[in-house]
Structure formats: structure tokens, C-alpha cells
Amino acid sequence: MNEPMLFLPLIALLPLAGFLLNGLFGSRLPKALVSTIALLFPLLSFALVARAAWMVHAGLALPVAEANAPTWIAVGTFHVGFQFVLDQLTLVMLLVVTGVGFLIHLYSVGYMEHESGYWRFFAYLNLFLFFMTVLVLAGNFLLMFVGWEGVGLASYLLIGFYIDRKSAGDAGIKAFVTNRVGDFGFLIAMFLLIAHFGTLSFSRITAQLSAHPTLTTGAATLICLCLVLGAVGKSAQIPLYVWLPDAMEGPTPVSALIHAATMVTAGVYMIARTHALFDLAPAALTVVAVIGTATAFFAATVAIVQTDIKRVLAYSTISQLGYMFLGCGVGAYSAAVFHLMTHAFFKGLLFLAAGSVIHGLGGEQDIRRMGGLRKTMPVTFWTMTAAVLAISGFFPFAGFFSKDAILAAAFQHGSTGKLLWMVGLVTALMTSFYMFRLWYLTFLGQSRAHSASDGHDHEHHHHAHESPWIMLLPLVLLALLSVCGGWIGIDRFAAFLAPATGMASAAPNAGHTELFLSVLAVLVAALGWFVAHLFFGRRTSAADDAAQRLAPLHRVLEHKYWIDEIYTSLIIRPIQWFARFGLGWLGELTLVRGSVWLLVGVTGLCGELLRRWQSGNLRSYAAWLAIGAAALLIFALAGTLLGMNSLADSIHWAVR
């Protein structure tokens, strides 16, 4: 085959080179060189992706599988290679990952300027890009798992970047371990796939499925549920979402790149990638849809009362990921991926803008102590506004198109679909509300740095300043994308993706219903804005009143339903107690170590008895010697005495 020179491995390996250079030598290089390296390699990678996109545009047929992929594991009949495949889905993901990734790298140069461990940060960031590109380029499950675990590692390293903060380390571990729970599901799914297909290659599995669909629904459901567990872990869905809010301990660009734009969407990508399996397992799809909807709703409720700007955004991310799951669950994979893409734009932008705010305020993250930043940070304000409008789903911003596509698909998805759609719509209302709450509290009104109850640190607003251009440039570019990113339209997008994700969602839309739903969605978003305006825009005490009137509810939301505490006391503590007392004391001390001590004790006792025998008195030795000699003699001469012939005979006789 005419190998189109796409250099697929290079797309992944370039960031790896950046990681190695910075990781090994970064501590000794000047900052400028570190950032050059860190920017150059992702940029080259992006350039390769863009070139590939251009070639596709020019008519290159997809998918393109790399020929002669090097072998990784080959044992018996099982064979897995480092195989990279480019298809439409991968191309979209790659554009998002490397494009948004590069912008965030650029932004980080400004944001991390004054941090120690500058080189380390960029090395990790490049490492993340490497694993993420491997994840999306992978041609088989195992290679995908490499990226899957790898991004988890990069996420762990970056969350715990501030090594002098215990909370950062805790959050990193929490993220990694929670992800591992998901990875467990992924592993089991892979084993099931090996058992059923004997291969882990996407193309072979798909081919086998289409050739003779022998896979039973039960088996497919089992596999898919395991995969869902993996996706739920990575994409922070119920019940494994708990790590994502804590992950905000990492530097803000990390939150933007990993915990909003790219890594957390890997679960959605994975479901879209394996849709051929999911299509055989409607039950699993229902689970996905229900999980997604529940998560979207649940996270949105929590986001309403959060006061930390990054936590609001974190719960918002969880909620939006729930939408994507909903999209996957109702079979609208392309809509989910579409939302994934637009979400990457506006959520990345939101985080970067939030970072810009935090940066400008010298580290302040509490929105109750912000306000009035519209004038001091105009560029940030306007880009943020674009993002808020986008996420709330106002026409013609990007979020409108993608969210609308998902909700429409849900609406058309049978009777349960209607219910899911309802919940989704309510969630949209809340989304709009909390985003505008954030917007009002941060940018509008008067500065509240002085009115804060404890009144610590009055210095912020004297320093409040707009961020440097290197941070603003990504903001502006992402804002443009947040505005225009959806204009391509779901129909064209779905048509492009169809070879990779199937045509299931691209049902002929009933024009009137579609229009009605769209209008409804915009109205709901507007309602959300309006309510937010009532509560926060006019600086009445309405918000506090409401909070007081609904005190129990407010408390529940404020404490995030005490989910963390419940997990700790119902899962983590019992495990620790079981390990410490059940295993450690009962099993280990009494049985295992006990048996050793018993053995040693018995041996020691025997030794003690024999020691007494060894009195040290020569004459008693002589006596025992004599009796030993007598015994040996009798033994040896028994044969002679009994009439046998030889010593050997008598020994033989004795042994028998």
C-alpha cells in the first residue's frame, strides 16, 4: 500500500522527546530554553496533525493504519504491537489534544513563570501529551491502555506538582487510585475480549463482529460494563467522580488541559471508539446514559453553591462530561464527540480565564472575594463571557450546537429518552445559573476583597492586573473557537465521523421538533441567566436569603452530599481496618507469624532438651558413646548373629 507519509508515531514521540530533554536536563537549562523545548515539540506534533488533517481534506482515505508496527508483546498466539491508526475520530481528538494542548502550553509559559520546578512542570506536560496522543492513536486496546494509564500518571504528577503541599499529594493519590479502580474494569474488559476474540486490535474485533456476530448480548454487556467502569473512572462520572474536584490542587493550566479539555474526555472517546461493541449491548448503553444524566444533574447541583472558582468549574466539567455520556448512551456518539470538542474549547478557556483571574489576584480562588474585575482585566472578562455563553448554550456559541445535538438525540431515544432529556434540560438551566453566578461574582459588581468575613490580605486588588500577552493569546484564540467552533454543525460533523462512529445518531431529524427543542434550550439558558441576575447581578441579598431559607439543602450541597466522607467511612476505613486487624492481627500475627514462632519455639524446646543431654561431662559422653557403639554393634552384627551373610544384607534387612 502506498504509505501516506503521516508519521503517526512521530506525533506521539515528539512530545516524548520534549519530556526526555526537559526531564533529564531541564534543571540545568535556562528557563527560556526549557519553554522553547516544551513549546516546540507539541507545536511540531500539532503541525503533523494539521498536515494529516489537510491531507484528509485533500482526499486521503481513512482509516490509515501504520504498516509494520513494531511488536510489543508476543506470547504464544497472543500478539500485540505498537500499532497506531488514524481515522476520523482520532483526527478530531488529535486536533483537540495537540491544538488545545499547545495553546495551554503557551499559556503556561506565562502562568508558571515564577514557580519553582518550572522545567519539571513542562516535562510532565509534555509527558501528558505523549500519553494522550498514544491513547487516541492506539490501534488496539492494550496500547490504548498504555495511554490510559499514562495520562493517569501524568495527571498524578501534575496534581501533586506543588510538592510542598500535602493536600496536593493527597489529591494526586486519590486521582490515581480512583482511576485505577476504573483501570481494573478496563483490564477485565481486555481479558474478556481476549477470551472472546483472541485479539485486542480494534479493527480485527470490529471485523470479527461484522463478519459473524457470534458475540452474545450477555457477553457484550459484560464487556461493555467493564469498559464503562474504566470510562467512569477516567471521565469522573458517578460513582468515581470524587477525584476530579480534588484534582484542582494542580496548577490551573493543568486543570484546563488534563482535567477539563482532554484527559477526562478519554472515557467518552473510548466508548465512541468501541461503539461496535456497545451497539450490541443496549443494556450497557442505558447504563451509560443513566450514569451520564445522573452525573450531569448531580454535579450541577453541587456546582451551584461552590465558592472556589476552580471547584465550580470542576463540577461543571463533571456535569458536562455527564452530557457526553448521555450522548454516548443514546447512541449519539458523534454528538458526544462534538460536545467533547466544543467543551474542550470553552472549558479550557474557562479554566484559563479563571487561571488568569487567580494569577491577577495573586492566588485568590474564592469568588466571594472577587468582583469588579471587568475593568481591570478586560480581555479576560470578554473571553470568559464568550465561554460562559458557550457553556450555557446560547446561540450561536459552540456549546449550543453540541449540547443541543445531545439533548435532541436523547429526546428521540424512546420513552426513557424523554426522561433523560428532561433531566438534561433542568441541568442546562442549572448550568446557565451557576455559570452566570460565577460570572457576576467574579467580574461584575464591586470588589469584595475588603468585605470578606475574615478580611485577610487586603492587598489583592491593588495588584489586580491583566495577564501578560502570552497568557491572553490562548484566551483569545480559544474564545474564537468557543464562538465559532460549533458552526460546522452536527450534521456535517456526524457525517464526517460516520465511518468511525457509525450512523446511529445521524437520524433524519424531524425539523420542527429539532427547532422547538433548540428554542427551548436557549430559553432555559436565558432563564438561568435571569435567575442568576436576580440573585447576584443586582447585589441584593437575595442569594443569602435563599440560602438561609433552604438551609438544609444548602448544607447538603455545600458538603457535596458528604460523598467523600461516605466513601471514606464505608470503603476506605473498613478496608484499612480489615487489613490492619483482620489480616494484620488475626491472619498475620496469629496464623502466619504464629506458625513460624511455633516452629521456632518447638525447635528451641527440642534444643533445650538436647542441651541438657549435652552436660559437658566427659564421662557421660563416654557412656552415651558406649551405648551408641553397642547399638551400632548389635545393628551391624545382627546379621551374623541371626545367620545372615553380610553387613550390607543386614542394613538392607533393617531398611525394609
Partner: protein, 537 residues
Amino acid sequence: MDGMILTLILLAPLAGMALILLLPDRDEQSTNLPAWLALLTSLFTFACTLHLPAHFVAHQTGFQFEENLAWINSPAIRYHVGVDGLSLWLVVLVGLLAPVGVLASWRAVKKDRKLFYALFLLQQTAMVGVFVSLDLMLYYGFWELSLIPIAVLTAMFGRNLGDASAAKAALRFFLYTFIPSAPLLVALLWLYAHTGSFDYATVQAAIASGTLPGWQLAWVSVAFLIAFAVKVPVLGLHGWLPDLFSEAPVAIAMIAAGKLGLYSLIRFHVELFPALAHRAAPWMIALAAVGILYGALLALVQKDFWKLLAYATLGSLSFCTLGIYGFTAAGMSGAVLQTLNEGIIGAALFLLFGVLYEPASASKLADFGGLATKTPRLATLFTIASLALIGLPLLNGFVGEFLVLSGTFTGVSRVWATVAALGVILSAAYMLGAIQKIFLATGAPAHATGHAAGHPSATARDLTGSETVAVALLALLMLALGIQPGLATDAIEPALQSITQSLRMGAQSRNAANLSPTHPESATVIASSPANLKGGR
């Protein structure tokens, strides 16, 4: 050269030992001459072991580099050595670990250096001997010999000599591993009495022929199994492990567990008694799968890093056992690979923990904290080794675990494989927890005052140049084996083919045995049928 290389590998450490013992006593305190000699010897030996893979004919079953000389005529004990794909890399591993061990002891051993390094090299010979012996009695000799330096060195150079717990740990280890060796010897003699030979192939053929009395043979195999299972150790028989890890000198602890027992399980239990191994397999699989969880759970709550390492090791060794007794091609390859991995990762972790432990003799996790900035090289390499241990893809631990688990899942039991896979979650929790407690901020109030003089965090040092090189090489090895496991598995697979072939025979006879459950000994009886005889040999 090929004919003598194994003998050279066996003799080189002994020669080094002799040289060290001949050194004058008086320079003991001032110079580190014994360590230098030991290092040179072990490097030379390592170079010799590298000759093996370089000239090994891959994809060929049977033993290579064989040497078969008459030694004792009656009883017929021969000096018969050779390696196949199974033992090849283990020999290299022992060769590799010896210089690492010497480096790890460089600063830790301060007195009686001559004795320490002499015994250390003796241990190396014994371990290589275990891997290359093809005569059962010769094997037994090396097996016993390998136990002694561990016990002696632990008792004499242990960490807590003051309260005599080192001596106790040494005694426990010695008794616990030595006592099962007695039935092993009896079993060996029984085999000799019934086959007239100690030669591995002869005995194997005799057992396969099924002419040996059945129930006695079953007991013989049990004697073999227990002796090895203790040495691995398998769950339930691991009582010596935490003690030894806490007390033994680093260089000794890093070689005490795993390799010898696991290799012996494959070679002298599974390959020698295929039919009986089949009967033991369900138990061993259950023990292994539970052992993975058990080790991980206990590692999770340990407060002392040696103990943590001990239970982590128990977990990863259980992976090997699981793979071996799954009898699947993938599982066994994974198990052998995992044995190598455990050796490499364990060595790195032991060396690093040793560096942490040495300045203040502190091993409580809570005593450390915030070392990442102070000891960056240590922290980086420790993180890499930990990630390899918990099975991050592209590092070696993952491939082994994956092969074992997938082999178990697809070929043996989905339930046990799932149970074992749960260990994957927990391993991340305890290793990352350890990293945090040692290297990252702990947030504890003691932290502020803790940097007073004498506090472990204050006295901690970073790796020296040679230590960095050693661990970095190990880390590279982890990466290389993680990306190209074929480096090792290509040689391992043909060796395993012959095993799985004999196992298939065992499976046949087991199935036949299952048909007549009233006669438990019928397994061997049926294995003796002429059809099987022809099929096997």
C-alpha cells in the same frame, strides 16, 4: 568456551571469595579493599553471565552450555550443569544483582568486611548453582548452600544487632526454610532409590513413565512443593519474609525471596511432576490470588517501609505463582518474566530504601517527609521503580502482570483472575502512599520541628554517583523489558513449550483421574499407560 562457561560462572565468585579471605586483616578498617574485590569479581561474573544470552540459540528446546562430568560414582552424583531459556535470564539476573548488592553494602557494612563479602560471593555461587544444576543431588547441595549465607549474614550484619532481633530473624529464616529441606532430601533419596539416578532427565523420564509407586510419588512431590513454596514464599508460608526484610542487610534481603523458589517450582515441581502439579494447581492458584490481595492489603497499612516492601513482594511473587500454576503459555511466560521483574525492581527498591535507612537507621515512614527537593535523584528513581512495581504500562511490571492475569483469566479461572486484578488497585495506593510519606510534604506538625539534627529527614542523603548509575541502569532495564519483553520471552518460550507439553500429559491423566474419583492415585496409574508413554517421550 561454551562448554566451560557455566563452570567459570560458578567458580569466579569462589575465586573472588578466596582472594578476599586472603587479604590481610589489618587494613580492614582503613580501606574498603574487600568491597573493591567483591565488586570486581561480581562485575567479572556478570560479564561472564552475559556470555550466555549472547551465544544462546533461541527457539531451541533443551539445555545448552551443558557440562556433564562424573563426580561421585556411588551414589551416582554427577557434575551436570546446563541452562535453558527458563534459567538463562535468571542466571544473568543473579549476575546483575551481585554488583548492585555490593554497591548497596558499600557504606552499610562497616566491620568484618572480609567475611561479609566472602559470604556474599558464596551466596552468589550457590544461587547460580541452583539455576544451572541438572543433577538433583548437585541441585540440592546448592539449594542448601544458598540458605546458609543468608542466615549467617543476617545474624552477623543485620540491622538491629543491638536487641538481637536480627539473630532471631536469621534463626527464623533458617529454621523455616531449612526444615522443609529435610523432607526434600528424603524425597530426593527416594527418587534415587527408585530410579537409580539423580540425573534430571532420567528422573523426569522415570516419573513420566509412571512406573513409580503412585501414592509415595505424591508425597514426594508434596515434599518438593513445600520446600519451594516456603522459599518463594507462597501465602501462608511467608512468615519469615517480613522479619528478614526488616533485619537482613540490604544486599542479602534483595536476593532472599522469589527467584530460587519460583524457578524450583517450575523446574522441579511442575516440570518434574506434571500430573501431580495439576492436582496441586487449584490450591496454589487460590493461594496466589488471595496472596496478591493479602500482600497488597497489608502493605497498605504498614508503617515501616521494610515491612511494606515485604508485603509488596509477597504480592508480586504471588503473581508469579499464579502464572506458574495456571499452566497457560501466556501465564507461565508472564510468571518467568515477572520473576525477573521482581528481581530487578526489588533490587532497585532495596538499594534505595537502604540509602534512606542508612544515615539515621530509621525505617518508619512517618519519620520521613519532604525529601523530594533534598534528594531529587533518589526521589526520581524511587518513583520509577515504584511505578514499575505497580505495573504501569511501558515498564516491565505491567507486561508480566498482564500476561499472568490474561492467561489466568482466559485459561484458568475468571474469578481468581478478577480477585488478583483487584490487587492492581491496591498496589497503586500503597506505593504512591509511600512516595508521598517519604518524598512529599506530609503536613504533619512534626515536620517543622523534625528537621532538627538527627531526624531522618535531616540526615538523609542523595544517591552517590555509583548508586545512581546502578539504579539508573536497573531503571533502564525496567523500561527496556517493558517496551520489548520479547528480549526475555523469546528465550523463555521454547523452554516453556516442553513444560506445557508434559503438562498436557498431566492434564490428560488428570482428566482420566477425574473420571474415577474413587481412586485418587489413579492419576499416576493412568499416566503409566503405554499411550502416554509414547506421547511424552
